[in-house]
């Protein structure tokens, strides 16, 4: 196993940190949701990567000796994607409502209004 080795994991770590950073550092609520999406996508890739078996094919029974990749993490991630979509939808819906009542989706401007009240 030479460099870059299991490079998928490096991608996962990079995306995870980038997403988390975006959530923390961006004041725009939509950008926060984007960051959250990247963060979650990194976790999906992490699961998909761990299911891969070197030289394995899709888990379909065909005659002869076959090495299969593990399908279970894929199925799990299908569920997690659904959860992610629901979270994104709800988050965006909340942002729409926030925009309606505050007239802004910038965290600092919203905070200003809240502190003034």
């Amino acid at each position: 196993m030479e460099w870059p080795g299991l490079y998928n994991y490096w991608i996962v770590i990079f995306l995870m940190m980038a997403g988390l950073y975006m959530v923390i550092a961006r004041a725009n609520l939509v950008k926060k949701m984007v960051g959250l999406g990247v963060f979650q996508a990194a976790v999906f890739i992490f699961y998909l990567t761990m299911g891969k078996v070197a030289g394995g094919t899709a888990p379909i029974i065909i005659p002869g000796d076959q090495v299969y990749s593990n399908p279970l993490p894929h199925v799990l991630i299908l569920t997690a994607i659904v959860v992610g979509v629901a979270t994104l939808a709800l988050g965006l819906a909340l942002i729409v409502r926030i925009k309606e009542v505050y007239g802004s989706i910038e965290e600092d401007e919203i905070d200003e209004q809240e502190n003034a009240a």
């Binding site: 976790v43 761990m50 959860v83 629901a86 909340l94 409502r97 926030i98 505050y102 919203i110 809240e114």
Partner: protein, 492 residues
């Protein structure tokens, strides 16, 4: 005939009723359905607890697929206890909810409220009953997503930002848990909790397992609002509708703490958690900080819901303190405080809902003279406050007593000083309420008169439970001790 299927019904009944509420469309029908379903869920959890106490743990194979491949529902003394807490509070709160809801969220959106409420209940019960780690994640998200909706229904526009912040924190917490589950699946190749526990132990000092532990512990601590990860909690509790605050304060954080307990003791085992990872001292410092800082901030709040929210942060500290001892006495104290805190915070937030129903405010200012204007509501708040302080004859005393015993038993008597100091701080913030309500004159033209009986009765059921379980501790302490022995593997 139906008895063997009780574990599945516990989750399936509220889950299927949730979309039915939308289809019924009429608020009255949806309310009736929700009410019936919540009480059925409560009855099921009582039956399950009795079954477990008599016959030991129950395992239910979802769809007949044998574990570890299929999803297994497990009911043992630990989660039967938590199921009971969640479903009891769920049933009492919904009984109370109708007038308060019409008043706070308007009559147009009620059916959607009932749907979200049932989904939230489903999620919390599901997290508690399942024996599958990935399933915990799914149910955790079901309960979280519906609780974001519930919180955002608050009248104040700050409910929206509070809900959004909770969404960000909650999703990060749940995703951390998911990463942890992924890592442990990599190391063990299983998702079934019991199977995981068997396979983690022989791995010894594996970096993957340690990382999995860290991710799961931090993610769940976020969901449980363990200090210093509690930032989402005060606003979420303060701006949510009263009913939602009462329900979430009494159940949601408890369920997260339950999953933490499962992670520490069942999946990784006390030896790994408390010796290899040296969790004890870390948790103890965080728990004591939560107790002291949470109580101190609570003293300076003028909004009573927010005051009690900070007090919740402190109370979560008590629960974690008990767990941090990792002894039977300590875990008993922690588990007991979960139950007792649900009773006291449930009673307090329901009483505050009554106050808001009449006065339209929950500030200390609005509470002036409330002792004369709403004697029963105010008496409930005082009773809940006494329990929060830990006055003898209330449940608060029982759990603090067990925590003190655990501290002395573990040879860390100095911790008892912190427990006492935090209780003294609680006296200060409860006194502020008493002073306003009984010793200050009412403002002019202040609204008076009690809340409707349908709201007062559930409140008082919880208040009386505070005293009943404070005197007769056989059931609560008995079950908590069994649960603690089960977790630490010293009993049956």
């Amino acid at each position: 005939m139906i008895t063997p299927h009780l574990p599945a019904l516990q989750v399936v009944v509220p889950l299927l009723s949730a979309p039915l509420c939308v289809l019924l469309a009429k608020a009255r029908l949806a309310y009736a359905l929700t009410l019936v379903v919540c009480w059925i869920a409560f009855a099921i959890s009582v039956l399950l607890l009795i079954q477990v106490m008599d016959g030991g743990a129950i395992s239910y194979q979802m769809g007949g697929w044998a574990p570890p491949w299929g999803i297994e529902l497990v009911v043992d003394p630990v989660n039967a206890y938590v199921l009971l807490i969640v479903s009891a509070i769920g049933a009492l709160v919904i009984t109370y909810a109708k007038p308060s809801l019409v008043h706070e969220i308007g009559s147009g959106r009620e059916t959607l409220f009932y749907t979200s409420y049932l989904l939230c209940l489903t999620g919390l019960l599901g997290v508690t009953i399942t024996g599958d780690a990935f399933n915990i994640f799914v149910f955790l998200e079901v309960s979280s997503l519906s609780s974001y909706v519930l919180i955002s229904l608050g009248q104040d526009r700050r409910a929206l930002t509070a809900s959004f912040r909770y969404l960000i924190f909650g999703t990060i917490g749940a995703t951390f848990f998911l990463i942890g589950v992924g890592l442990i699946y990599q190391a063990t190749g299983t998702l079934n909790i019991a199977d995981m526990a068997n396979r983690v132990a022989p791995l010894g000092e594996s970096r993957t397992v340690q990382a999995a532990f860290a991710f799961m512990a931090i993610g769940l601590a976020l969901k449980a609002a363990l200090f210093p990860l509690h930032a989402w909690l005060p606003n979420a509790y303060a701006f949510a509708p009263s009913v939602v605050t009462a329900f979430l304060a009494a159940t949601a954080t408890k369920v997260s703490i339950y999953v933490l307990i499962r992670t520490y003791f069942t999946i990784f085992g006390p030896e790994f958690s408390f010796e290899v990872m040296a969790l004890g001292p870390i948790l103890m410092v965080l728990a004591i900080s939560a107790m002291l800082i949470g109580s101190t901030i609570a003293i300076f709040q003028d909004d009573i819901k927010r005051l009690l929210a900070y007090s919740s942060v402190a109370q979560i500290g008590y629960m974690m303190l008990g767990i941090a001892f990792a002894t039977v006495l300590g875990v008993t104290g922690g588990m007991l405080h979960m139950f007792n805190h649900a009773l006291m915070k449930g009673a307090l937030f329901l009483a505050l809902g009554c106050m808001f129903y009449r006065t339209g405010s929950v500030s200390i200012e609005a509470m002036r003279g409330l002792g004369q204007r709403m004697p029963w509501t105010m008496a409930a708040i005082v009773a809940g406050g006494l329990s929060l302080i830990g006055v003898p004859l209330t449940v608060g005393f029982v759990s603090k007593w067990y925590l003190l015993l655990a501290a002395i038993d573990s040879g860390m008597w100095w911790i008892s000083i912190f427990i006492l100091v935090a209780s003294l701080l609680a006296i200060i913030y409860v006194w502020r309420l008493v002073e306003a309500a009984y010793l200050s004159p009412s403002p002019e033209n202040a609204p008076s008169g009690e809340a409707p009986l349908i709201m007062l009765i559930p409140t008082w059921v919880l208040v009386l439970a505070n005293f009943y379980f404070g005197v007769d501790t056989r059931v609560s302490v008995g079950v908590a001790t069994r649960a603690a022995e089960f977790l630490l593997g010293t009993g049956s």
